[in-house]
């Protein structure tokens, strides 16, 4: 892959920052120009949040627009559906199965859409749906959901596995390295 666009989507507070930090660090070391765009402030308070990671020989725009994403990495499946129109026709979705009801659903004004997994697949996108929370707990911490997702994402890159592991070692605090390495493996070797 000579260039690419990765969107990391989720609900404010789910911890997508580590995922984008890891990707940015790795892609820069691989010799790419990289831009990572985040949203801070009010929308972080339980709202829908998105981080854009772009890499290539030279990256201009800091954001990914509709129809431009090669990958959507999603912490919550409704968010994958929300941002679907940003995916390229041949793009990949790597998503957690977790469902978090948004306020209109909580108060009963709207319904949480049903069978999202099937509908995402029917859209023509390649979709990996993983119960990341269970995998993360298996690795040793519920907080490792982000690295499980990154593990699966790594499967689609021609960057050697040891480079990913190296990036985890350099970014994650030392006492959590082993948990995160295991979470990465569980994600990477996930069979959909």
């Amino acid at each position: 892959m000579k260039s690419g666009n990765i969107m990391i989507v989720g609900v404010g507070g789910q911890g997508s920052l580590l995922a984008s930090k890891l990707l940015g660090h790795l892609l820069l070391k691989e010799g790419f120009d990289v831009k990572v765009s985040e949203v801070h402030g009010m929308s972080q308070r339980g709202g829908s949040v998105v981080t854009y990671v772009r890499f290539g020989e030279k990256v201009a725009s800091p954001v990914i627009d509709e129809g431009e994403a090669d990958f959507i990495v999603s912490f919550e499946i409704l968010e994958a559906a929300r941002w679907l129109r940003y995916l390229k026709p041949d793009g990949h979705i790597v998503t957690n199965t977790q469902q978090i009801d948004p306020m209109p659903v909580i108060i009963g004004a709207k319904e949480y859409p049903k069978e999202l997994e099937d509908k995402l697949k029917a859209s023509g996108a390649a979709v990996d749906v993983m119960d990341c929370l269970t995998l993360a707990k298996e690795a040793g911490s519920a907080k490792a959901v982000n690295v499980v997702l990154i593990g699966r994402l790594s499967h689609y890159f021609d960057i050697p596995e040891d480079k990913w592991i190296e990036a985890i070692e350099e970014i994650v605090p030392a006492k959590f390295t082993e948990i995160n390495k295991k979470a990465f493996e569980l994600g990477r070797n996930f069979e959909s």
């Binding site: 990572v36 009010m42 308070r45 829908s48 800091p62 129809g67 948004p102 306020m103 859209s123």
Partner: protein, 581 residues
């Protein structure tokens, strides 16, 4: 070494490398991280000031004291600091002053979409505008040189997409100029009419000199490409234009947006067949180009409202764009909400229950306006809740006084709520003000303020006693309550609304997200007792939902604040006890 760096962190790095010694700011998205990152350098004295006006005046004092200084703020913060800015333009500087202002096109986290370039023009102060992190670092250093060479404060304008994007930078060493000796200069620094009259023509001359610099310094540059289309642009718009057109068109890329380089614009216009200005928000460059008698396009193609993107620009230029697919299902919106355990929730529930007219303010608690609480009647700007409830009551008399409140956070009260309270105390309205004291500045990501007892580095600092302050201002009825206790809060609210004099209710409970806050174990619902009446749903807690006709608590979100438990008539909520207890 090449590294990825957030725009705001690159700004702070620029301050460090330029030898900045004093930083004073008020937090505001998307500017906050500039000051937070600067505070990590031991060589720079950093502080959170009570508001932007104070912060800017601190930089002026520091400049007189002979060191390079900085203040940072969001676009609306510059309105608060406009008073010192417009006259600091006249005094100029002793040591360099850089002012960081971050606009928020698209209003990701703001109450309006104002374009701070208007302030630069009106204050006659130069403004630089970087287009990525590397330029941010470079421009901040350049801004100090300009400030001292031209004897002026310099504005460096960020926007959300530059401030909150990481791109590649290369850092270098700090070069700190020696502190300049203080020089008393009444004619230059005491702006009374006789002196200011002499300064004004000097400022006009300075703008002319800056214009010459902007033509020749290389900060504004022509990137030659195809001559069919020529685009004048800056900031993140430049990046979108590059994304769409690459090198296929000609670009005049502006790094300085005030004053504008007339000669360069004329030269560029003469080289291209079709001239288009691509700028977010107001048509400032476009109107300037037209004022030079040059034909150009801009807002006839592109919107004034909202932020741009590559697709938006491509579509405006008549290019085909590929948009992706959507599902047929309606995707419910996911707006920001008050967190589980937020101490503000019980306050807004009680205000809604009592059908109060609520004058709101700026902070997390503006979310009290969101359904199902919907307990807010207006939000304008920092501090307006306190002033507006007074005006409302002067208009409504007893009809307003018994049911209206102004509601404001601790940090916002220190920022600009105190003056409104002084007005209530002085001009005697029977108003009720609620201060939501959650021991932190919440919305911008937990900054300390004068009421928390800690400074920007987390070290112990002066602490203003809110109760004593309100009493000293002439408010005799000052009550402190715990907003988790709904009955007590309801009692206090009714009592203070009924009182025949002004009152302040301090609803005190730390933000649930603060690391030191110890939470109770989560609650669960006894489905045998739950009747599905939905009383607990009226508080809009993200941890509670209805599943198969019964309330259900998400125990990963619940922090055991027990507000829902107090609403339940059937004792359905039960605490999950810790294992082993």
């Amino acid at each position: 070494m090449k590294q990825l760096m957030l725009g705001n962190k690159a700004f702070a790095r620029g301050l460090y490398e330029a030898g900045c010694c004093v930083v004073s700011s008020y937090p505001g998205t998307p500017s906050t991280e500039i000051t937070e990152e600067a505070a990590k350098y031991d060589e720079i004295y950093c502080e959170w000031a009570p508001n932007e006006k104070v912060a800017m005046e601190v930089t002026f004092g520091a400049s007189l004291g002979g060191v390079r200084s900085f203040c940072g703020m969001k676009h609306v913060g510059l309105n608060v600091a406009a008073d010192p800015l417009y006259t600091m333009s006249y005094t100029g500087v002793h040591a360099g002053i850089v002012i960081g202002v971050a606009d928020d096109p698209g209003m990701h986290s703001s109450q309006n979409e104002q374009d701070s370039r208007h302030h630069a023009i009106a204050a006659k102060v130069p403004m630089l505008e970087p287009s990525d992190s590397a330029e941010t670092l470079e421009y901040v250093k350049l801004a100090y040189e300009l400030s001292e060479e031209f004897d002026t404060p310099v504005l460096v304008k960020m926007c959300t997409r530059i401030a909150h994007s990481q791109s590649v930078v290369e850092t270098s060493q700090r070069a700190c100029p020696p502190r300049k000796a203080y020089e008393k200069n009444i004619a230059k620094n005491v702006m009374m009419p006789g002196n200011a009259i002499k300064r004004h023509p000097i400022i006009e001359e300075r703008t002319n000199n800056l214009k010459v610099w902007s033509e020749t310094s290389g900060i504004n540059k022509i990137e030659e490409g195809g001559k069919e289309i020529g685009i004048i642009t800056s900031s993140t718009s430049y990046q979108y234009v590059k994304e769409v057109f690459g090198d296929s068109i000609s670009i005049l890329k502006l790094g300085m947006v005030n004053p504008l380089p007339d000669k360069l614009i004329r030269e560029f216009a003469s080289q291209v067949e079709r001239l288009i200005v691509v700028e977010e928000m107001d048509p400032i460059i476009e109107e300037h180009v037209k004022s030079l008698g040059i034909k150009c396009e801009g807002k006839n193609l592109l919107p004034v409202c909202g932020e741009f993107s590559q697709n938006l620009i491509a579509a405006a230029m008549g290019k085909d764009i590929d948009t992706g697919k959507s599902l047929d299902d309606e995707i419910p919106v996911r707006p920001p909400i008050m967190c589980a355990g937020c101490p503000h929730r019980g306050v807004f529930y009680t205000l809604a229950k009592n059908k109060c007219v609520v004058m709101g303010d700026i902070g997390c608690y503006t979310l009290g306006a969101v359904a199902p609480l919907s307990a807010m009647d207006m939000t304008l700007c920092m501090g307006a809740s306190v002033s507006a409830v007074h005006g409302f009551n002067k208009a409504m008399g007893a009809d307003g006084e018994g049911k209206s409140v102004g509601i404001i956070g601790d940090s916002t009260f220190m920022h600009s709520g105190m003056t409104g309270l002084a007005n209530i105390a002085y001009n005697q309205s029977n108003s009720t003000v609620i201060i939501l004291d959650n021991s932190i500045t919440g919305m911008t990501g937990h900054q300390q303020n004068p009421t928390t007892g800690y400074n920007i580095k987390g070290d112990p600092a002066g602490k203003i006693d809110l109760e004593a302050l309100c009493r000293a201002m002439g408010i005799d009825r000052v009550v402190v309550t715990d907003p988790y206790d709904l009955d007590e809060f309801d009692r206090v609210l009714k009592e203070e609304l009924a009182a025949e004099e002004p009152s302040v209710i301090i609803a005190r409970r730390p933000c649930a997200l603060l690391k030191y806050v110890k939470h109770n174990t989560p609650l669960t619902v006894n489905t045998d007792k739950c009747t599905g009446c939905g009383a607990c749903m009226r508080i809009g807690c993200p941890a509670i939902s209805m599943k198969e006709g019964k309330a259900c608590v998400d125990k990963t979100l619940c922090v055991g604040c027990d507000v829902c438990m107090q609403l339940c008539h059937f004792d359905s909520f039960e605490r999950i006890e810790k294992k082993g207890e």
